[in-house]
């Protein structure tokens, strides 16, 4: 493209295009931070080559996505140095922040020493007023103007000038608006965009107001800013302040439970934020549970399916599954709320064991409700709970599985409203349970991030995969990736004997919005609104609903839901045992069966939540395979 035709009057932005106002994030410094900010797809990233600032850039620019222009910022630098830097860092633009003359700009424009043409942005600082006449000499030698706040420093003063000065802007050259812009000014910017002064405003330039320290940008605030600026209704996958995930969640509870649930709602975040709580939680996870759990590269499995598979080894936690992350958190919560008696429901018995374990640890009374059928198919876990001092009460109503055990636990809580805490074992139930359980389980993805960084050089895998009963191991595995669009989320449900067999637990396919155990979520039910009895070979997935977060992930398409039959799951469990020497819980086996149904690319990094070990299921494996 030829220079002098570059910015013809068509460049003037219509109000519609204004919504696509460009964004420049300036003052980038650290490699990791550059990568993570680049993932937000700003239009420009700025690197300051001026030595007298804490944001001075002196390392290498990592690979960043195409379409993001790299801007070098200079203050009265030698032209030859500028040219050198442009070539060395493959800059797309330079921003001249000093007293560079028009002549200086025209050298940069006409030199044949550059490997590719660049954009030239000339900066002018404005205090309360500005003499726009100075612009004229630059009209033909630069591509953009940038208006910044005049202060002690050449840029980065961190406060705003009065944008109405731009009412008198005499030029048609597109300009960058800069100087102390932060998330608090979103409304001002939106007002500005519709004002006359903004007619030629081309981009918004941000820097210090998005930093946790000079040069280190806060990605989540930046994301919010960019989304708000582009009027993008940001999809929020976390719970909102009313306890909902989109249309799902809430607290549909009888009044009898209100005091308990309300007490928890008012306190859970406060308690979790207490340094003393965090210290005790972290210490128990480390010394008692054995965290961090390894992130293991499964070489033979990877080879077989021609992709890169990592296993997050929750099976190596004390008691053999992820469930204990949550029970440790909740028992500490119960203590701080002054509760002395603990109740829980359990399906596979893993949550019951994890609850009985922490109750033994803390010397608290423990009652576990378990469906009569599950008691029969998970005998080893029943024995463990009893050894740990818990009372196991059979749920005799309905399908006599997890759903009914949960009903019984809720009834117990209604009858014991003052001294009892109900440790729900999955990301289900009335708000705040789904969020609280998710936060306790979030340690899983917190660890995956740094572990993957160590092994693969990046925090984000291409996929995270987990099986879903109520969805607690899944919620923990996804949590820190929910808002990372480059990470695919795969949720694996139990299809039982097959989706259409009438014997299934694949809620995302068979369910519709309804209310179960105090929350609105996807639910398997009759046309009349009666909850259907699910079926799966695995007691831990045998639940007619999913947690509200997952209902939202399904509804919005953020997660891909797959359903796996009993037989595929059993085969996958056997395969993992033979290939990697790891016998998984049957719940977990469902997640591993996806490789038979979905093909990944050879360089895809797929992180699997290995939610639990198979000891408790040995008899089922023996019976199934006639071992």
């Amino acid at each position: 493209m030829k220079r002098d035709t570059k910015h013809t009057p068509q460049q003037v932005l219509s109000p519609l295009e204004k919504s696509k106002l460009k964004i420049k994030v300036c003052g980038m410094k650290y490699q990791d931070n550059i990568e993570s900010v680049a993932a937000l797809q700003p239009d420009y990233l700025g690197f300051i080559f001026y030595k007298e600032t804490p944001r001075h850039f002196d390392t290498k620019i990592p690979e960043i996505p195409e379409g993001i222009k790299k801007v070098g910022v200079f203050v009265n630098e030698d032209v030859s140095t500028v040219i050198e830097k442009i070539n060395e860092f493959k800059l797309d633009a330079v921003q001249l922040h000093g007293e560079e003359a028009p002549y200086y700009c025209s050298i940069l424009r006409s030199t044949n020493l550059l490997s590719k043409p660049i954009e030239i942005i000339k900066v002018f600082s404005i205090k309360d007023e500005f003499n726009f006449e100075v612009l004229e000499a630059f009209e033909n030698v630069c591509d953009y103007f940038l208006f910044d706040t005049k202060g002690k420093l050449p840029g980065g003063n961190g406060y705003r000038f009065d944008w109405s000065v731009l009412n008198d802007y005499p030029s048609t050259k597109p300009f960058f608006l800069s100087g102390g812009i932060g998330i608090d000014q979103i409304d001002d910017i939106k007002n500005f965009i519709v004002s006359k002064a903004s007619k030629y405003c081309y981009a918004i330039d941000v820097n210090s107001k998005f930093e946790t320290e000079p040069g280190l940008k806060n990605k989540s605030i930046l994301r919010e800013f960019i989304n708000k600026l582009h009027n993008k209704k940001t999809m929020n996958y976390n719970v909102d302040d009313k306890g909902y995930y989109g249309e799902f969640g809430g607290a549909f509870i009888p009044e009898m439970l209100h005091p308990n649930v309300e007490e928890l709602r008012q306190n859970y975040l406060k308690v979790m934020a207490e340094p003393d709580f965090q210290k005790e939680f972290d210490k128990l996870l480390k010394d008692y549970v054995g965290r961090p759990s390894p992130l293991y590269y499964a070489k033979r499995l990877s080879k077989k399916y021609n992709t890169k598979i990592y296993l997050k080894r929750e099976d190596l936690n004390h008691t053999g599954a992820h469930k204990i992350n949550n029970t440790i958190g909740q028992i500490l919560m119960a203590q701080r709320l002054g509760k002395t008696r603990i109740i829980a429901e359990t399906g596979a018995g893993q949550h019951g064991v994890a609850t009985a374990t922490v109750c033994a640890l803390m010397g608290m009374e423990c009652i576990v409700y378990m469906g009569e059928i599950d008691i029969a198919r998970q005998a080893p876990n029943v024995a463990r709970m009893k050894m740990l001092g818990a009372k196991v009460v059979p749920a005799l109503s309905g399908s006599r599985t997890l759903k009914d055990a949960t009903n019984e636990a809720i009834r117990d809580w209604i009858n014991n409203p003052v001294d009892t805490h109900y440790i729900i074992g999955s990301a289900i139930g009335p708000h705040p349970y789904p969020d609280m359980v998710t936060r306790f389980q979030a340690v899983i993805s917190e660890e995956i991030k740094w572990q993957l960084k160590e092994q693969e050089g990046r925090e984000n895998p291409d996929y995270v995969v987990a099986c879903i009963g109520g969805g607690s191991n899944a919620a923990g595995t996804y949590y820190h990736y929910l808002h990372e669009p480059d990470v695919g989320i795969i949720a694996v449900e139990a299809a039982g004997l097959g989706i259409d067999s009438g014997e299934s637990a694949a809620t995302s396919v068979l369910g519709k919005a309804g209310i179960i155990h105090g929350c609105k979520t996807l639910l398997m039910q009759t046309k009349d609104g009666q909850i259907t009895e699910p079926y799966s070979i695995s007691a831990g997935l045998d639940y007619p609903g999913v947690g509200p977060m997952h209902a939202h992930l399904s509804k919005t398409g953020r997660a891909e839901f797959l359903s796996i039959t009993d037989s595929d799951a059993m085969e996958a469990g056997l395969e993992l045992s033979k290939l990697e020497g790891i016998i998984p819980a049957i719940e977990t086996s469902h997640a591993f069966a996806i490789f038979k149904h979905k093909t990944f690319k050879p360089d895809d990094v797929v992180v699997m939540s290995l939610s639990g070990r198979g000891d408790k299921d040995l008899q089922n494996y023996i019976d199934y395979f006639k071992i």
Binding site: E255, H258, S397, P417, I515, D528, I531
Partner: protein, 254 residues
């Protein structure tokens, strides 16, 4: 005027009976209602059965399961109630869990209730704030009274809030429990009844849970406008069938 309100205005203590629709037999609904009225009952709660009745004890769980097995559904109940106002004039309230109503469509459900002459609803798992924010206008459009529960643990501030949103009576759960769990009242309950009495609420209170005979009925109505009997009545029809409703009501009211 809504029949519930007129009934509450009568100068007497009210006996309200809960039964599970479709139990013991699918077609018992109408005859139970008629017999209850004939035998001096003031108000009726028709239980729409639900697969997972969280706030109920074993008696009502079992009658609900049996009713569903008998084929009871929302549609069937509405069909049975067609023409009920030709023979019955006391207030009728449907008591059920929220999910079946939600699936039917809350507005369609309310509309149908109005058509049939149902006067109010009790939905234990529809919290007052969700009702207030999302459904109150619909209920009012169809002239339905929604009844909320309070328990000994409900704070005074919340009771006032519930009172402000109620337009019939307040269902005072006698103790922290599921239905049918306890029988009889101790000092703790009477202290709670007195405490609520002293609050001078706008809406009269009707006490439920733990009322099973003449003694507990008399005790409860000393403190409240009326009392609701559920599990004890369900137990009675389980044991003695639906032909002896008069002996049950007599034992309460004698």
């Amino acid at each position: 005027m809504n029949r519930i309100v007129s009934k509450l205005n009568e100068d007497k203590k009210l006996l309200s009976i809960y039964f599970t629709a479709g139990y013991p037999e699918i077609n018992d609904t109408v005859s139970i209602i008629q017999d209850l009225e004939k035998n001096g009952v003031d108000m009726i709660e028709i239980g729409l059965p639900f697969s997972d009745p969280l706030a109920d004890g074993p008696t009502i769980q079992d009658s609900s399961t049996a009713a569903l097995k008998n084929g009871m559904t929302t549609e069937v109940l509405f069909k049975q109630l067609e023409g009920i106002r030709d023979t019955v004039s006391i207030p009728l309230i449907i008591m059920g869990y929220f999910n079946p109503m939600f699936q039917y469509g809350v507005e369609a459900f309310c509309k149908k209730c109005q058509e049939l002459g149902v006067d109010g609803l009790i939905i234990p798992d529809l919290p007052v704030d969700v009702y207030h924010n999302e459904y109150q206008a619909i209920f009012e459009k169809y002239g339905l009274i929604n009844v909320f529960l309070i328990t000994p643990q409900t704070s005074d501030a919340r009771i006032r809030y519930i009172d402000s949103i109620s337009n019939g009576f307040i269902y005072m759960v006698s103790s922290a429990s599921t239905t049918g769990a306890k029988s009889g009242f101790g000092d703790e309950q009477t202290a709670y009844f007195e405490r609520i009495g002293k609050m001078n609420l706008n809406n009269p209170q009707v006490i439920g849970f733990g009322i099973s005979n003449n003694e507990t009925f008399t005790q409860a109505t000393k403190y409240a406008k009326g009392a609701i009997i559920g599990s004890a009545f369900v137990k009675h029809v389980t044991k003695h069938g639906v032909k002896t409703i008069d002996s049950f009501t007599k034992s309460i009211l004698n």
